[in-house]
Symmetry: C2
Subunit: 362 residues, 2 copies
């Protein structure tokens, strides 16, 4: 498969849904990726089946608060700097890039890096969605070391981290991102082809493209209708009544109140945010939570509204999609379930929560 | 010259005075250095005249707030980690250690590193005293690049900084030190023998030993008498009336009020602190300021009281010694003069300030 001017918009649309409101807006990321493939040619997406066992794969993502990326758009050379530094660190050539998370702009950055380095992108990622913290990644779940890690800012400053576990990396690399102005890009949890076949969420890139194609097929009804075959559930339709969002400790944190409209009149729903949408609550009841994918759509256009774009008065439809199976296991939930974000409730799959609500209404 | 069980106590005493209240208390540093030379043999101090032109010198210091070091005493292996990482980074063997600053515990850490790595210490440093920030160093004044820099914590976590100037390094490495728990150790501004002969404060280690010997010679009168031939001036003798000191942004910051006693009765003097003692003020008048060396002595014992040890009720004698000539130049003052610390006054040498006060009194 190729990512080019035709497929990239689908990929970006799928990545937007999978971002759970995070990973950074795909708007500027899509523009940067389109420009890169126009200038340098399409990016090849390779199946992990075709990657040699010992080939070096570089998972990459931004680190910081997506709010910052509205003004700080990065530098296309960052991919070259990251690749060169990782090759120097490991003493062997890189084979391919991987999106650390297939959600939001973090799905598109590796496309820019790939175009600028002439390397392909593997059809996989580390989350099957987006999560806010470094250790919330499939490679961590499978024992792949977090370091060596390379971090660069947009000016060309380089930092290499060694001999650190994922939690220490999260703590220290996040602090460094704040010192660099709130955002930087990294390669961490690098791995070889053989390991990647078990330690990643496979098929993520082609899945995102497919989701984008389905969402763009107007013959399938409106956006909500198109999401249904993907397992999508509508949580509420309403108007944003309040946005509490601050950039704190290298994250966008806060919550959003949605006032129900039409059939949802008299409902008041709260979305909890840490870069991504973490949970939706109504009168103390959980409507959906991590690891399921919670996304706010513009009720008129069906476009994803990223957390950094939420504003008072927007008409929104909150939808939830089931998490990849990996995150619904005991080990997965320990890493990315509600309690990993300090919420005092257990995870219940969104489809079960929806069925319960229907029962109680009828 | 050798640093051994005989000379180390003198060296520590000189380093304490030159620390300007900062660089960390020499008490625990002296114990660590004594233990290292007892276990591993004395450390050789080599003149820069005897260092080959292309020999690699590693300047080292702690980075963080000295308050933290009261509880976080470090790990003797840190020197081995720093040396190994710098050798890997530069692809050549290290020849010797250098104290980035000859003041406080930072004068003694390199002795521990030297003993544990079997390398000598050069008779020089980067300040001729102690300063709080990374760029406040003679190598920066002489155009030596700040990076590559290696930073390690006491657990063995490694971070390498590349392609950064001294101000960016100060900002980002400081943030990282805070994330590591408030203190870490670094090698930065590494240089070769030829460069060191012009870009350092030469003879610092032997000077500190000599100062320690003079201060320990009871035949020369009390501590104040012994400081006089070194250019020392007494600013005030009093009792600490108030200590405002917080650990903020990776520094110990605050001020201390000293209430005059005996001949200084009815005087109230304020000491401004950022790790080191920066300035002494009395009713809006400057008594002494950076780059001159301001040190608080215990009025009874003559021992240095480091900023992290200042407490209400202590009897103190504030003394000031002239700064090394390098810092009294225009370029030197731009880097470490009062305005570099955001004070709105120009530097006047302490001996001139003392002469003016004597005149106005008589």
């Amino acid at each position: 498969m190729l990512l080019d001017e035709t497929t990239l918009p689908y990929y970006a649309r799928g990545a937007a849904i999978l971002g759970a409101g995070g990973g950074g807006s795909t708007r500027s990321g899509l523009l940067a990726a389109l420009q890169a493939v126009q200038e340098l040619g399409p990016v090849e997406v390779v199946s992990l089946d075709d990657v040699p066992d010992d080939a070096l794969i570089l998972p990459t993502a931004g680190l910081g608060s997506p709010d910052i990326t509205l003004e700080k758009i990065g530098n296309p050379q960052q991919g070259v700097w990251l690749r060169d530094a990782m090759e120097r660190e490991l003493g062997r050539p890189a084979y391919a890039w991987m999106a650390a998370e297939v959600g939001g702009n973090n799905a598109l950055k590796p496309v820019v890096w790939a175009a600028h380095t002439g390397l392909p992108l593997v059809d996989a990622d580390g989350m099957g969605r987006a999560y806010p913290e470094v250790q919330m990644i499939s490679m961590h779940l499978h024992g792949v070391p977090a370091t060596p890690t390379v971090l660069v800012d947009e000016r060309g400053h380089h930092v290499v981290f060694r001999d650190m576990d994922a939690q220490w990396l999260e703590r220290t690399a996040r602090a460094l991102s704040v010192a660099f102005g709130g955002f930087s890009v990294t390669v961490d949890h690098s791995l070889d082809g053989a390991t990647a076949r078990t330690a990643t969420v496979r098929g993520s890139v082609s899945r995102a493209v497919r989701i984008g194609e389905i969402l763009s097929d107007t013959s399938l009804g409106d956006t909500v209708d198109r999401l249904a075959p993907l397992g999508g559930h509508v949580l509420v339709t309403g108007k944003i009544a309040e946005v509490n969002r601050r950039t704190v400790g290298g994250f966008a944190r806060g919550n959003v109140l949605v006032d129900g409209v039409a059939g949802d009149r008299d409902r008041l729903v709260r979305v909890e945010i840490q870069n991504e949408n973490l949970a939706v609550l109504e009168e103390g009841e959980v409507l959906a939570s991590v690891p399921d994918v919670i996304t706010a759509l513009d009720s008129q256009t069906g476009e994803v509204i990223f957390t950094e774009e939420l504003r008072y008065g927007q008409r929104v439809t909150l939808v939830a999609l089931p998490a990849p199976d990996m995150w619904r296991t005991e080990a997965g939930l320990a890493l990315v379930g509600p309690r990993a974000f300090d919420y005092d409730f257990d995870y219940i799959p969104v489809e079960e929560l929806v069925a319960r609500r229907k029962e109680s209404v009828s």
